[in-house]
Amino acid sequence: MNRTPQPQSSTLNVESLAVASRSNIKRQTSNVLSHILDFVLAGIFIYAGALKAIDPVQFASDIDNYKILAWPVSVALAFYLPWLEILCGLALVFRFLYRGALSILSLSIVVFTLAIIAAKIRGLDITCGCFGHVSQHWSFPSHLATNLAILAGLLALLIKATFENRRQNTV
């Protein structure tokens, strides 16, 4: 009845444990990194939103400078967009309505970037208004680089969240 120890199977067990622990460490590292990215992006959007929310008159004028929208639409957006940014930023921090917030922020960054490019092509002398007066003297390349970096971060988080959501649904 006494079983003799099987060295081969115990080695396999140790190896599979090591693999599981390595993948666990990888997952934890990726989670920590994505949380850091969450906080960084949330900070950017909350800060940008707050700067614009305290001076909607200036922001309406910044939107109007793009010469894409009628003035009443610029005013409506000047009141609305900062709060949308702030709410989405808070959603990233608290991981509440998380994927919705990432989608809205990604879409808005794409729209802002296209508007900046369109203004540049049309030769408009604009203040982007992205970060209130802080971004007043940003050059076109720095605008573009900042927006693309933010978009890359948002898309990375969105892809990760989508995969995690899919995995949870299948388990």
Binding site: S61, F79, L84, C88, Y98, A101, S103
Partner: protein
């Protein structure tokens, strides 16, 4: 899964309406929904020229653009060097004078901003933005 993403997005979009509406009510007296600049604050090249010596022309464009050309007699006052240039402007200003601020064109923002600061920070009463800016002045004068 897609529907939950859209639902989340919609909740956020609708939630943001509440503080936005509150802010719109709070700022109702500080912003016009009809025009970026109230018509009473705009002036055409002809009107401003008609004021003659009663008008002080203020160039809100960057230094290099002012250096290359400007309205004769205009004073440079841009936001880049606001603290440095404002005292020079105030030394020329006198009560009863009308201030005409211009920047490069219709699409620029600098003249509107400088005019706003002159009214708000320097408490000047008669500050106007030149319609069409430097481009409009050039068209009428060359």
């Amino acid at each position: 899964m897609k529907s939950s993403l859209v639902r989340q997005g919609l909740v956020l979009v609708l939630l943001a309406l509440l503080p936005a509406a509150g802010e719109a009510i709070y700022f109702r007296d500080k912003i016009s929904w009809r025009s970026a600049i109230a018509p009473s604050e705009m002036v055409t090249v002809e009107q401003a020229r008609g004021w003659g010596d009663a008008a002080i022309w203020v160039d809100a464009r960057p230094d290099d653009e002012f250096a290359s050309d400007h309205v004769p007699g205009a004073i440079s006052l841009n936001e880049d060097r606001w603290n440095e240039l404002l005292p020079q402007f105030l030394a020329v200003w006198a009560p009863g004078k009308k201030v005409v601020v211009y920047c490069s064109s219709l699409s620029c923002n600098a003249s509107r901003e400088v005019a706003r600061r002159l009214r708000k920070e320097a408490q000047l009463p008669s500050v106007f933005v030149l319609e069409g800016g430097w481009e409009a002045w050039l068209k009428k004068n060359r």
